[in-house]
């Protein structure tokens, strides 16, 4: 039985225009695996994560954790099991709170007693020394902020971490460090990752299985091996793989993207 089971998930936003962000999305994430969701903007990949967290209302389908449907609104037990790392390190930390406050607040909400020790340990685990503990976010670099965000996600000791483009806003060299950190933490703690990204290389590096999404639907499901062997069935997936190889100058055969934009 899958740890996180998403079946026919539908999310529709009703407002001035009705937007069908997700139209019947299904995927099953096993315990301990690293699962990727790849797509371009508007594909709905981030919406899947937000729906799991209860940040957007679900208008159809089911999400099951350990076989049981998730309560709406989510409860404390859920937050102890599932946490999320957001994309923008400049927006995911409160500008007026110190790192210490960011890390100790979840502990306070859930009634942990040995907060000091846990905060210090969390900072060490993500490679930040205790000198960072009382800094404000504007005194940290992008990579440092993202490490704090990762520490915050881990401090409640969840089992599943949802990662919404965790390195998209970071420089390449910092991205490598953060990806290595995430891999190490996953290995040491036996975590389950659901990683969303537009970057096929990042997903191929981090995840064993992945799905490709477009316009709110799952286009194809692949394994890392199939991705490496370029064995994709659907044309959109093939386009994505070709485009990820980079630009080829005039003279060389150009990829046929088949999309009008």
């Amino acid at each position: 039985m899958a740890l996180l089971d998403i079946e026919n998930l539908e999310v529709t936003f009703r407002g001035k225009r009705t937007v069908r962000a997700l139209r019947g999305v299904s995927m099953a994430i096993e315990e301990g695996e690293s699962f990727g969701i790849v797509g371009e903007s508007g594909s709905g990949k981030s919406t899947v994560l937000r729906a799991v967290c209860g940040l957007v209302p679900v208008t159809g389908g089911t999400i099951r954790l350990d076989g049981k449907p998730l309560p709406t609104p989510r409860d404390a037990a859920f937050y102890r099991r599932v946490q999320m790392v957001f994309q923008d390190p400049y927006a995911s930390l409160h500008p007026r709170h110190t790192v210490d406050r960011v890390l100790s607040e979840p502990l306070a909400i859930h009634g942990f007693s040995d907060r000091e020790k846990r905060v210090e340990r969390a900072l060490e685990e993500v490679g930040l020394g205790t000198g960072f503990r009382f800094r404000y976010p504007h005194q940290l670099s992008g990579g440092q902020r993202q490490r704090v965000a990762i520490a915050r996600a881990l401090i409640l000791e969840p089992k599943i971490i949802l990662l919404d483009e965790p390195t998209s806003a970071l420089d390449a060299s910092i991205q490598a460090e953060v990806l290595n950190l995430l891999e190490r933490l996953r290995r040491e703690r036996g975590l389950t990752f659901v990683l969303v990204s537009h970057d096929l290389a990042v997903v191929a590096h981090m995840c064993e299985r992945l799905v490709v999404m477009q316009h709110g639907e799952v286009v194809e499901a692949l394994t890392r091996e199939a991705l490496r062997a370029k064995k994709a069935e659907k044309p959109y997936t093939q386009n994505l793989m070709t485009a990820s190889e980079g630009f080829v100058r005039a003279g060389a055969p150009l990829p046929e993207t088949g999309r009008s934009s």
Binding site: R74, H94, P95, R96, I109, F134, R135, H138, R152
Partner: protein, 308 residues
């Protein structure tokens, strides 16, 4: 924990360190940096100076005043004397020293300003953040209530209060406070709407925080900068409104040396004995200007965008 060093440069280093070792050090360091940024604004410093002067004068009124503010001198010889060394600002029609009356009147001005700020600001921020955060019918209901209070002209409401409760400075303060909070509610609501969908709010929601904790600990601190600036800039208007009420005889009652009331009683003598109305008028002008400068200086410093 860090120990307090002895030398002055040691203090500066302690406050400006990049690695604060405690919450207190971090918070004090931030405040110090804000102060350093504020200090660069000369007009803001002038405004701060004026406001501090007001506070000092109010606190030490008994010492600074040269004469008794309430009891006049000889009604035959000391009425309506022009400014001189004996009476810095002259005397009024009751032979009272105007300078001492202005000095003591600063207490009333300060009290009005402080109480209105202390009453109106929490109400406005609470209403605004709750309305902005929850949205829906709560937002609509609270905003309509806000609109109702916004529609009341301050003076008319003060008249109503006076009719109901009798004239006096306390009722005037309540009347002003009740009509002052709606703009703060609107401001707080606008800030809340901007912040509500930020990722750090999503993040704290995902830790299981209750709405109360989110509003109090996460949203209010982000609204405070704008509200503080707005309140400071409003102070000038509040002083003028209190003066206006005093002018109409609705605020402080004679013989209290409220500046607006002083202008009212000086009105009749303005042609031949200009100092009686002009001196309190100048005092109001200077204090209002001071608050305006201070508010402008604060806005430059507290603007959240500048912190990036």
């Amino acid at each position: 924990m860090s120990t307090a060093p002895a030398a002055a440069t040691g203090w500066r280093e302690w406050l400006l360190t990049e690695q604060p070792a405690s919450r207190r050090q971090a918070r004090l360091g931030q405040s110090y940096r804000t102060w350093l940024a504020f200090r660069r604004n000369r007009l803001g410093m002038v405004g701060l100076g004026i406001v501090l002067l007001l506070v000092l004068v109010a606190v030490f009124a008994d010492v600074i005043a040269t004469h008794d503010p309430l009891v006049g001198g000889d009604l035959r010889t000391e009425r309506l004397l022009p400014p001189s060394l004996a009476h810095f600002m002259g005397t009024d029609d009751q032979a009272r020293d105007i300078f001492s009356r202005i000095v003591h009147g600063s207490r009333i001005t300060l009290m009005v300003v402080a109480l209105v700020a202390l009453i109106a600001t929490p109400i406005g921020v609470l209403v605004g953040t709750v309305a902005g955060y929850f949205g829906g019918w709560i937002d609509t209901a609270l905003m309509r209530v806000t609109d109702v209070f916004l529609a009341f002209p301050k003076l008319i409401l003060a008249l109503a209060f006076v009719a109901a409760l009798g004239p006096g400075i306390e009722n005037a303060i309540i009347a002003i406070a009740i009509t002052s909070w709606p703009p703060y509610a609107r401001l707080a609501r606008a800030e809340t709407l901007t912040v509500r969908n930020a990722e750090h709010i999503d993040a704290i929601r995902l830790q299981g925080a209750s709405s109360a904790r989110i509003i109090w600990g996460h949203i209010v601190p982000l609204c405070l900068s704008s509200v503080i600036v707005r309140v400071t800039l409003d102070m000038a208007g509040i002083i003028l409104t209190a003066a206006g009420l005093g002018f109409l005889g609705l605020g402080a009652q004679p013989p209290q040396p409220e500046w607006g009331a002083m202008i009212a009683s000086g009105r009749r003598f303005i042609i031949d004995h200009w100092w009686m109305a002009t001196m309190p008028g100048a005092a109001i002008f200077v204090v209002s200007l001071g608050f305006n400068f201070l508010g402008d200086g604060l806005r430059d410093v507290l603007d959240p965008k500048a912190h990036r």
